[in-house]
Each structure stands twice: as C-alpha cells, then as structure tokens.
Symmetry: C2
C-alpha cells in the first residue's frame, strides 16, 4: 500500500526538525491520542491504566483474543502457533518495569523535531505478567545461526511514506534474558486494549519502542532486521543526513511531583511557606540508580533513596524542604551505577530521542 | 491563597481567545495531561479506563478511601457523614452514560479560545455504579426552601486568579432525577484515580463538568451557587464582556471511526477500494438520537441506527460504502428528538463550549 501524499507530512524516512513556531495541528492530534502520566502519579509505586503513558503509532487494533494466535518461526527447530489459552498454561512471571517513550521531552527541544510532542511525562511503571520469552524461544529451539528476533504487531499504518505493520527486533542475547516477558496482564488485571491486548512484549530497561504491542508474530532471523522502526525511526541522528545509532536502553532520569497546587492554565505551582516533602522517582535502563540530587535555586542536595521496586523499575526519592516566601526553581538529577547523570542542558538530536535533561519546576511560595 | 502572577496566565475570570498562531506551550501541557478517546474506540459499546476521555482541572488527588468521608449538609433535616463502607451498603444502580467535555472541539475553533485544546475526541461511555443521589438526599431530607445542590471535589488549584476547590451545582430538580449517581465503580471495576476515586457524581445528559470527581461534600442551598466553575467558567459567552448563559446538557453529536489505516504523523487515512462498513456513535443530552446521516463527498445518506445503550448513552450507527479510488471527504451528522442537528460550520463562542460541528474525515482510496 503506497503512502498518501499530504501537504503536512514530514519528509519520508525521517522526522524533520521544526522551527520555534507553535505546536502544529498534526502534533496536537498526536498529543490528543497519546497520553502521558500526570506528574502527581509519581507518588504511586505502580501506575494504573489511564495514568501510564501510551504511544500508539497507528490505530489501536480491535482483536478477538479467542481467534488470535501467536506465530513463532524463522530460524527455529519447530515453528509454533499458540492460542491465548495455550500461552496461559505456560509458566508465568511478573516483572515490575518502568517504561518510558524514547521521545519523552521532545517538545522541549529547540529546534523542535516534529513528531509526538511529549513534554516530560511519557513514563509509567507497571507489573507485567506473562510467559518469559526465553521459555517460548526454548520451546521453538533457536538455531545457532540466529542473531536477532523480530517482533511484529497487528497495528498497521504508513510512516515516512512506508506502509507497514509495527515491527522491531532485539539481539538474540537480549531476547534470551530471563526478565523479557510476553505479557497478558498489567497490574494483575487484563491487559487493556491500548497496552497491547491480548499480548505484548515487555523488554525491561529498553525504551518503550522495543516492547511491541498487539504481538502477532515472532521471527528468529540470521541477519540484521531493516524494518522502518529499526532502521529509520528510533535512531540518534545528528542531522537528516546522518544514518545515526540505534536507540536502545533508557537513559538515567528522575522526575519530581510538583509541590503545592497548580494554576489551571499555566500549571505554575503555588504553595504555602513551611516544611514540604519533595518527592519523585528515578530510573535508568543501564543499571541501578545510585544517587538523586535535588536542586533548590541552584544548590544541589542529596535526596534519600528508597529501595528500587525491581531491577528496571523506578526508585522513590524524597527530600525535606522548608519553603520560604518568594519564587523558587526546583530541579532533580539522577545518576546511575555506570556514572551516567542527567544533563543540565538539552542534548539535541534530529529525531528528539533519549532526552533526559533535568526537570525544572518553578514555584511561588506565598506570604512572608 | 492568592493566585500566582505568571506571564502566560490568561486574564482572570475568563478564557481569552487566541489568534491563529500555533498551539502554545501551556495548551500542550494541558493536552499532555488530559487525554481524549482515540476515535477507533468508537467501535466499543463501553470505553475502558485509559481510552475514556479525562479532564483534570488541577491535580489528581491521592485519597485514602479508608479515611475518607462524604459530608451532606446545608438545607437538610439531618446532616450526614458517610464512609465508603456505609455508601456501599446503600442500594446501588448501574447507569450507562456517555460523558463529553463541554470544551470538546475547542482547538478547531477560529479564533481559538485558550484552554484545554481538545480536538474531537473528548468523549467516552462507561457503566457507572453507585448510590442514587436522590436516595441520599432523601435520607438527609431536603428542606422545601432548597433550590440547588452544590458538589465539591477534593481537587484544588487556582483558575482565573481564584484559588478554589472544584465545585459545581445542580438545580434541585436535576439532583433528584433517579439516574443521577454517586459512583464508586466504573465498568464493574474500582473507580480509577483519574475518574474520581473513591467517589464521583455522574449526571447523565450533562457535559462532563457537572459530574464532579473526588467528591467530598454535598451541600443543599437556597440561593444560586456563584462558584468559579458555575459563574465564570462553563458559560456560552459571545465575548469577554458578555456574562453569558450556563453550559448544561450535551448538544447532539456524532463521530465516525476513521476507516482504513493512518499515516503516523498526519493521521490522514488510506484505504483499499471496495466495500467498507462506515461506523460510529451518536449521542445527545437533550433526548434520543433519531437520525444519523453520513455525508460522502457532500451527498447525505441515512445511516442504520442500533438501539441506544441507555437513555443518555451513545447509539451505534453504520453505513455500507463502496470506496472508489480517489480522494474523498466523509462526514456524519446526528439529529435528536428535539429536532436539533449538528451544524456544518463552527458555532464560535468565547470559551469554546458546546462545539458540535460535524466531523470531516479525509481519505485516500488507492488504486484504480
């Protein structure tokens, strides 16, 4: 199926960078469909459906789970075709995972890449229950020549001029990790339609694009997958002409629950003077978060860290603050076990990927 | 608590109209928080959490349901204070209700009023279960001098320069309708945080602003309520200086599932030639939907209507279409029992309320 030619379509093959003008109607349409996690939900260990971020590339498919099958094929000893009933009979694991969209923070970049215009909150943490991918790959028998595993969703559309079903690959060593799961439950309940019903992949530690929703086939391959979402999209490019490097693991990040109460339109915060417990969450797909610092008007203080909820789930942090009347800027900055820390200034790239600049919250403390 | 003075805050007391410039960062922040229903969810009779639209004026409160109480007072014989456990012992009803935000469609208005920039999809239909409000008002004993009932939520913030908890009133005759419910369940599950946990009001037929979430008190009053969300916001105003008329019932509207597959960025639709079953839903808060017409390149055809799911729940419609190669514009237009029908051109007002202009879907049918 050929792509439609439409006047506002970005150039085929990549996401163009826009000027500093206001958000376009196309970006607003995407923002209306794809929702982020309101920052006050950072108070919760686990993010319920409707608060957890969602990015749908095309349309949410309407799948009859009773008629649905997962196909596993390619470089395997035995191709498999499994019903949901069969998958539910297999051993199940539950993994707490923080997922973040690779494009989180994109709308704050200058110049702004034109795509889903996330602000800060394209994140969420859920408990995903299902069959370990490694178990099913074992059942199928991966041939020694295999190098990657390709996951294809039912969701179909056109992107960058290419008609496609959403598909991504993982290197075989990642696919065989014990915590990669084919999930049919989220937070103990049925997987919601927007999160991939009836079955999705969840790849802990990787940005969300790896966790293919509405999964319909798994193909073990012997050469690098060159699908659109792997080869063209989700790359760190310096410019349109740069072929770039693939996006994979989540960069270290922290976010804060904005204290006080908001103004409806500006979301600017107002609070009363006195003690406030600042709090938020921090995560990294590269390894454990080891420190969070909170910046109060430019002075960095170490936050208290709770135990992480899992190997790739966020970690709560807190810092008591005595708010004094006046205008203040609050920030937070996490560091992980690799020594990586969040940048203070934007780390621009052509597609607006992996943006983990520190959050800044302006507050007005009343009185005096 | 006084309002924060922030440079981009709209003028106190009303929502100003913007020029034709792009969506502002403030509007984008609201769009990122408040999500609409992806149009493909129109295929479903009932909208699950995460697909149902959500508008949060301030922050989603984090409420401990075990410690929470609902207070009922004012012009009543007996003031009441009820725990969730007590409310769950009262008789319960389940009502299927289509809720729509009064500001739905705002971003399409020209000039564009500055507020939550909904596109088309701020709607959803759920089954709300809880105690009939009339039953609790009966328990409290409404005095004959009562004229309105004021509902106050826990959610607090600043709007138009006024610090407030979200509050709205209903005329006493509406409050005593048998289908107005204090809901603690949505679609048979626990009420999600973003939909008002642990208890919300649901007023069938009225735009969503009447269905106060995170309800903490009900006060029966003897004079018109003059709170911000009643007296200043949610009014049909011709201009900033017009005091306007209050927004109440949902105007007749229909929406279509866009056929075919989307382009990721533009959402423009592409489909193959041949038979397609066009489908959507129609609703009105004024009374039953009596007709839906589908416009194909300007020619109106009558759609087939299914039975409505309830007195104030949407009604499915379908129309078979044989798609021929080329560019087409599809529209749909509902009419209700009062004779009201959707306008073909925008019905502008200062706050961008009650916009029910017909939806237009452009599609490219391939081949030939």
């Amino acid at each position: 199926m050929a792509a439609a030619e439409t006047p506002n379509s970005p150039a085929a093959g990549a996401t163009p960078a826009a000027g500093a003008a206001g958000i376009t109607p196309e970006e607003l349409q995407l923002s209306a469909r794809n929702h982020s996690m309101p920052l006050e939900a950072l108070r919760r260990d686990v993010t319920p459906p409707g608060l957890h971020y969602v990015l749908t590339h095309f349309d949410i498919p309407d799948i009859d789970a009773a008629a649905w099958h997962l196909r596993i094929g390619g470089a395997v000893e035995r191709a498999l075709e499994l019903s949901m009933a069969a998958l539910r009979r297999d051993p199940a694991i539950t993994v707490p995972v923080t997922l973040e969209c690779a494009g989180n923070g994109r709308s704050l970049l200058d110049p702004r890449p034109l795509s889903q215009p996330w602000v800060l909150e394209a994140v969420g943490t859920a408990h995903w229950t299902g069959v370990p991918l490694a178990y099913l790959l074992g059942k199928a028998g991966v041939l020694p020549t295999a190098t990657e595993v390709v996951f294809t969703g039912t969701d179909a559309g056109v992107q960058g001029g290419v008609a496609q079903q959403y598909a991504r690959s993982l290197p075989i060593r990642e696919a065989l990790r014990p915590d990669v799961v084919l999930a049919y439950k989220m937070n103990g309940g049925e997987l919601p339609p927007q999160h991939g019903y009836p079955l999705r992949l969840v790849v802990p530690g990787w940005y969300g694009m790896a966790s293919v929703k509405w999964l319909e086939s798994i193909e073990v391959v012997m050469s690098p997958f060159s699908g659109y979402q792997q080869h063209i999209a989700y790359r760190y490019q310096d410019s349109e002409d740069d072929t770039g490097r693939p996006v994979s693991r989540i960069r270290v990040r922290s976010l804060m629950v904005p204290p006080g109460i908001p103004d409806f339109f500006t979301r600017h915060r107002v609070l009363r003077p006195g003690p406030v417990l600042l709090q938020g969450r921090a995560w990294s797909g590269e390894g454990a978060v080891t420190a969070v610092e909170v910046g109060i008007d430019g002075t960095w203080l170490p936050a208290q860290l709770d135990k992480p909820a899992g190997g790739f789930a966020w970690r709560k942090w807190t810092l008591p603050w005595v708010a004094e009347p006046g205008e203040h800027v609050l920030t937070c900055r996490a560091t992980d076990i690799t020594g990586a820390t969040q940048p203070l200034e934007q780390n621009w790239n052509y597609q607006g990927m992996g943006n983990n600049v520190v959050q800044r919250v302006s507050v007005t403390v009343e009185g005096g």
